[in-house]
Symmetry: C2
Subunit: 328 residues, 2 copies
């Protein structure tokens, strides 16, 4: 942690105004993809990432890294892309901008662990630029975030995750605000038709246009903090024993994840509508899912108790006395 921070500070001295932000961000997300996939490969030696490189007809392409059927990670995807060309009509409309050349790059990841006691996690870090000259774009912005979707949430895990993201935001408070980004996350990852949050949130931000240099440094530290936000939770929960009952609940809860991604998620909808690479977009979907009619956990069961977590709350202000028994 210390060393990442030090390097960020050093780089801040050296803003490299001769290299477009587009290229710096592309290099950063590609390096981050290697760092994350390598570490996850080390953790689960029963499987390994398979890497697909793909090209986009209109310009650019991406690298899709997917791991399946691992003992720890049942399915995980860590994708990067860097695409450019004339702005598709559909995007011009969505962003309400004129048709002009665009450049977009980012990393997007989703991890679906096998154990119902290990949360699913999602994160992405994106940059978008418009105009003919990437060194002096007409418009540019960053977006991203990270959010956690546990099946059997535990307060200490939720707090660990949020604490990491709060620290990252606090260290970049000129461009990042944990309270604001947390609220945006709660609002974004919400299933109106279920009256439920997708999970326990995290941070989400978009259209950060002020101070690109500062936002890039924030983005770098956020990206590099992903592993420490998540892996300690994996390590803590992976050995806990589970059975058919917990598996069933996990598969039903994963149905909510699918519902969110296909019904609400802007990135997914947008990707599918703009002829994105379907397999890279839909790698976010869980490997096995169940839908059962009107599932209602038995009153006072562990499954009924954890529903308390699927409502936005100020996790960092809570103590173990505030949470349902057995979920501390």
């Amino acid at each position: 942690m210390g060393d990442t921070f030090d390097r960020v500070e050093t780089l801040r001295e050296d803003p490299r105004d001769d290299i477009p932000m587009a290229h710096r961000m592309k290099r950063f997300v590609e390096a981050l993809q290697i760092r994350i996939t390598k570490k996850m490969d080390d953790i689960d030696d029963t499987t390994a990432f398979e890497v697909d490189q793909w090209d986009r007809d209109e310009g650019g392409g991406g690298i899709t890294a997917v791991m399946e059927n691992g003992e720890v990670f049942e399915k995980a995807g860590v994708n990067t892309s860097a695409v450019h060309g004339p702005l598709p009509d559909r995007m011009a409309q969505a962003f309400d901008v004129d048709a002009k050349p665009f450049f977009a790059t980012g990393l997007s990841l989703v991890v679906h662990p096998r154990s119902p006691y290990v949360p699913t996690v999602h994160a992405n870090f994106r940059y978008f630029a418009l105009g003919d000259d990437l060194l002096d774009p007409d418009d540019q912005w960053f977006g991203g975030g990270a959010d956690l979707t546990p099946y059997y949430p535990r307060l200490e895990d939720v707090q660990h995750f949020h604490r990491v993201w709060k620290e990252v935001c606090d260290r970049h408070d000129a461009v990042a605000d944990y309270e604001e980004f947390k609220t945006e996350c709660d609002e974004y990852f919400y299933l109106d038709h279920r009256n439920e949050a997708r999970g326990v949130g995290g941070i989400f931000y978009d259209y950060l246009r002020e101070d690109p240099e500062g936002t890039f440094f924030f983005t770098r530290e956020a990206g590099r903090s992903f592993l420490r936000s998540y892996l300690p939770i994996v390590e803590r929960r992976r050995e806990e024993e589970w059975g058919e009952r917990e598996r069933r609940f996990q598969l039903i809860r994963r149905g909510r994840y699918v519902e969110f991604n296909l019904v609400y998620d802007r990135g997914t909808k947008f990707g599918l509508e703009t002829d994105g690479r379907t397999e890279s977009i839909l790698m976010s979907l869980p490997p096995h899912v169940r839908w059962t009619y009107d599932h209602q956990p038995e009153p006072d069961s562990p499954e009924a108790r954890v529903l308390w977590y699927f409502e936005p709350r100020d996790w960092l202000d809570l103590s173990s006395a505030d949470v349902p028994t057995g979920t501390e």
Copy 2:
């Protein structure tokens, strides 16, 4: 078949202009729900429909009948509803009409069999009216259809299904046109992001406004023809042996079904957006589903051969010589 037809003809003599079409259609779909659920209960004696009656706060309600975990039918839902009240804004916008009282009733069903050799089927029959006086509505229309989604399609099954719907349309050619309704079905049940049809089609129609009396008789015969369009296929395929390989393919194909329903289906999206009853809307989702990254069947395998079917074709003009070996 003969007797249904006779009864329809008799009723045509007796248009009952003292009873609103809204009420005749409601009574019809409720009777059809009983007929269909009873027959399906008889066919699969390892499970039974469970029936939920629900009320809508703003007026009306529905009856949701769901069967789960049967040996033949892994999950099936046969729902009716009849709702009324002030037209919700979201609907006024979608239909591009003024805010006024509305009435809507219909039956919607989805059957997900356990065997990968038995196709999934979907059908619905709907009526919508606008205005203060249901005996003389300002606007009214019918919509509906039936479509088949096999996992391992066989030409004879596909032809049987289409032949039934063509016969029904042909007998009501003043209001129904098989060629037109089949094309609408092919266009509607298509996954753009996969470049694939959801299944092998059937018929689909909407906004039938001319000749409500004739359209009601067509709708009645269509509704009553559902069982004979589908059950002979169930009977023919249910005893065929299958194993893990076929099951896996079925679960992956079911993923496409979920993608269609959550990304494209107007009824589903509309229901979720207008605060419909979530569990009744999402009963259409399959019980178990898999998503695996970039699934590609082995060349020349049965799974590769059947993909030929997921493209709109004039099924009734084909002979066994036209189809991939083993799928006749």
